[in-house]
Symmetry: C2
Subunit: 458 residues, 2 copies
Amino acid sequence: MDSKAILTYIEDNKQRFLDELFDLLRLPSVSADPKFAGDVRKTAEMVKSRLLDAGCDKAELVETPGHPVVYGEKIIDPNLPTVVVYGHYDVQPADPYELWDSPPFEPVIKEEKIYARGACDDKGQAYMHVKALQAMVDTGSLPCNVKFMIEGEEEVGSSNLETFVKENKEKLAGDVVLISDTGIIAIDTPSITVGLRGLSYMEVEVTGPNRDLHSGIYGGAVANPINVLCTMIDSLTDENGHITIPGFYDKVEELSTTEREQMAKAPFSLEEYKSELGIDEVKGENGFTTNERTGIRPALDVNGIWGGYTGEGAKTVLPSKAYAKISMRLVPNQHSDEISDLFTAHFKAIAPDYVKVKVTAHHGGQPSVVKTDSLAYGAASKAFEEAWGKAPIPTRDGGSIPIVALFKEVLKVDVVLLGFGLDSDAIHSPNEHYGVFNYFKGIETIALFYKHFVELKK
Amino acid sequence: MDSKAILTYIEDNKQRFLDELFDLLRLPSVSADPKFAGDVRKTAEMVKSRLLDAGCDKAELVETPGHPVVYGEKIIDPNLPTVVVYGHYDVQPADPYELWDSPPFEPVIKEEKIYARGACDDKGQAYMHVKALQAMVDTGSLPCNVKFMIEGEEEVGSSNLETFVKENKEKLAGDVVLISDTGIIAIDTPSITVGLRGLSYMEVEVTGPNRDLHSGIYGGAVANPINVLCTMIDSLTDENGHITIPGFYDKVEELSTTEREQMAKAPFSLEEYKSELGIDEVKGENGFTTNERTGIRPALDVNGIWGGYTGEGAKTVLPSKAYAKISMRLVPNQHSDEISDLFTAHFKAIAPDYVKVKVTAHHGGQPSVVKTDSLAYGAASKAFEEAWGKAPIPTRDGGSIPIVALFKEVLKVDVVLLGFGLDSDAIHSPNEHYGVFNYFKGIETIALFYKHFVELKK
């Protein structure tokens, strides 16, 4: 592969690469909300046609009970290695819309960053792979086969992907799964994610009286489900930041002192972290650093809460019901279904007899760890070194990509998390953005990964 | 006054009295929501014209910075006593609409009850006074003067009524203020409210990070404002159901054993109470009965809570902000402004350093007690005895009518709470209703009050 030709090609096509990504970002492919179903499908169609434009021999929409998976491939020689690319074309809901400085589905570049829902997560990052393929094809330097699997349900738990992968093991056969849905520590500190947390996501409903009551007539005599829910939520963690669900920590992987010392070497400034978030203090499990709290320790967060009157002014209601969405991030050896079961049993057990509770599990996902001694990791490391002039640091991320565990189990290949986002990209938040630099540098790094991967494979 | 003539008049005009009330109920006079401002005014106009129809010499809309007060009067002889009637034509918001069995602003009668927002609180109850006047005028038995003050901001704290009353002391001069905005114990157990709780209504905002965060990347390391708000709310009451705000109970009126024994004589079935509300257990301050908990003890309730993602499905957000509306019901000698200040200081004091809090006070109101040895109370008692065949029991209600304290202070007259609702009328809730029997019996009782009041005055 001629690395220079690739670089020149990227340089010559920058505007087109941006314009094409903008087309994709304009489609509100919010998988969680049924009202966007038509846009989700339009997005899948666009991804399919872009794969063909980029040089794929074939591309198709594979239907599922939910949103379709876009599959595409370019097989240049069955005897050569095959890179399987995974990404997702769906995005998180964009609300609250009023907190966006520019509309979420009208992409703009400000201060060298692309602002739009999905700019980073994951349209921007997935599209780098499409453009890397095109760069290699058009410069005659594609060194191996490539397969794409771009799904439309990642933000709602990839509920149909497992079936798709299991039913298409042959079709998806390859030597490595390459995913860009994570980040680097900083522009001057490239890194590769080697650990991801898992997820259990629960919804709870607490019912007090059978109807909304006047808080004057009944207040003080009838349990208020909001107050009760608050007390129950409060009790889920103790004063040391430990989660109190019995059995919750039983299987948590404990890292050795050496491993923790290794982790501590990653550059990190607590002052900058706090200042960037506008907080005076951090808060988490006692005895662990901030990076450990998100990297190697589980967590429990209320992602949403609602009940009673939430409009303008005052309404003196003692409501019948209160609700919360509560999720737990899991670390290696914890099992999502087991933790959901433990939560459900515990939440029911602590419900006082003056309320009734209902607990439902939303999608979950398994935690995973990527080996750093694999050939694929080695190729990714070399690609970073060549493109960024620095060897990447292995890191453990707090987020979840549940399908990583699935790929390892079903496809039996190594997974490499070659992501280029930054923590400050505000994914899942208003004003999500992605650096223009990261976008182009990512395309280059991905192309270089192919080169090093095939060379190491020889 | 010829009581029989009044009864016959009511009997002959039942359908018209219902039709006229229905016209009033069809107007969505929700004072809390600016989008209903036009309907609120239309309602005021209708009340004005109904006062004239009923026999008032004059009626007018008195403008305020908010919704107008409807004033009307019929002066038959300046030397005779004057009854001042207070009521309100505004209603609570009707949401959640989906929980109504029939639309809130399309009144219907089902099982002898009028279903509509405001059917009981307070259009139905206020309109009984208009029809009682008409019955007395048309039967030639009005024994004294009458003045009406029907306001449009009771459900938002009567914020402009104080100025109105203070500026119109002469106009409102009279011998008693009569209010129907409370209830009786049961159809077979008439009662008169002699105690009302006051109100402090607060809104709190807890801010964590400066933007919504991805709960995977930050969860466990950054304080989640929803979790923090839950912990703060939980801490506002202790395991005995006591409110923990320092100084909160300092001025609470303590009742004597005799007074509590007296209260305990009111008929009450805890089993029926629980069954009617669909709850297995009641919950409140230790050491007090259910009636004491709402009648003579203060309470703290979360009236609304919201934060994070509250839509369909799952969103893994660690939100920037969480909010709650928290109100406290107050008992005699507690002062609304003082309690609001105590709450604000306490809520700020308990905020941990990893969040910021903002506390705002909505409208409040003073608790009040009505004397049972007054001439006005005596007349009300006799009116009940004549119309219902039973002497009424004095009760203490949990709700608040903040202006009661105002009338006593500024107009220097006794107030009588001649209400005919039932606790089960679901005021402030979906499916609010008012008994057809109560509506007509109320009109009769009100007319009889005039008779006994003037007789006792002689």
